[in-house]
Amino acid sequence: MNITVTKLKRCDLLKLEGRFDSNTAPELDQAMNDSMDDGVFRIVLDMQDVEYFGSAAIRALVNAYKSCRETTGGDVRLAAVPDRIMHVLELAGIAPLVEIFETPTLAVGSF
């Protein structure tokens, strides 16, 4: 599991890699909270290299999504979601709620 944060002009881009299970989801939670503590409420998660995204990671995502959207213009958006991870998000019923883009460039460019 690895998270690389790139601070851009309008948003933070978090590139996620590897497994996000209940062992590693707290680090995702932390990374998104760090952005918010920094006053950044526009977050892009680049999911391209995510191998696993379990219910604990979904919980972290939903929490950050709620907090960000409480601010004006704030949002958490996803990019490059692999098919299998998409299936999990659909099963959890959150795929239709979160904005999902084909590439990180499009997601970053949406803010």
Binding site: D21, S55, G93
Partner: protein
């Protein structure tokens, strides 16, 4: 019954990746396709997470036992713990229609297990501990299959 493979680890979430790898390896050997293997990995991950977080109340020094076998046309995973027993009928289904803002946090684990596996059974025994048995149907292509 065919061979049963067993992995016995401490009840730490740090072992979830190893458990996932163990189960995936057994499922691959049994001839399951990649999508089914991924489904199984999710179900096992959620089941073990629940055991660690709820049955063992996050204590990481307890025992978690994961067994895999092939029975007829099913890949079977049995997860055993010796913590607090659990009545699955007591938990409500998650409300997947609720808007994200009103979504209750959690409650997806058991839902994922039931949706991704063909059957999920919880049981509790005096000395055999708590068990969850999950089954996934597949078409075995093994040459010395008894089917």
């Amino acid at each position: 019954m065919a061979v049963e493979y067993e992995l016995c680890v401490k009840s730490s979430t740090q072992n979830l990746a190893a458990i996932a790898e163990f189960v995936a390896e057994r499922a691959r050997e049994a001839g399951l396709d990649d999508d089914s293997i991924f489904d199984i990995q999710i179900a096992v991950d959620e089941a073990c997470t629940n055991t660690i977080e709820h049955a063992y109340a996050t204590r990481s020094d307890q025992t978690l036992r994961v067994c895999c076998s092939v029975q007829d046309q099913e890949f079977v995973i049995r997860i055993t713990d010796y913590g607090t027993p659990f009545d699955p009928d007591s938990i409500p289904e998650p409300d997947l229609e609720a808007p994200m803002e009103e979504r209750s946090i959690g409650g997806l684990g058991v839902f994922f297990m039931r949706r991704l596996m063909d059957s999920v059974e919880f049981s509790t025994h005096a000395y055999r501990g708590n068990q969850v048995v999950m089954r996934k149907r597949f078409v075995p292509n093994d040459v010395d299959s008894t089917q």
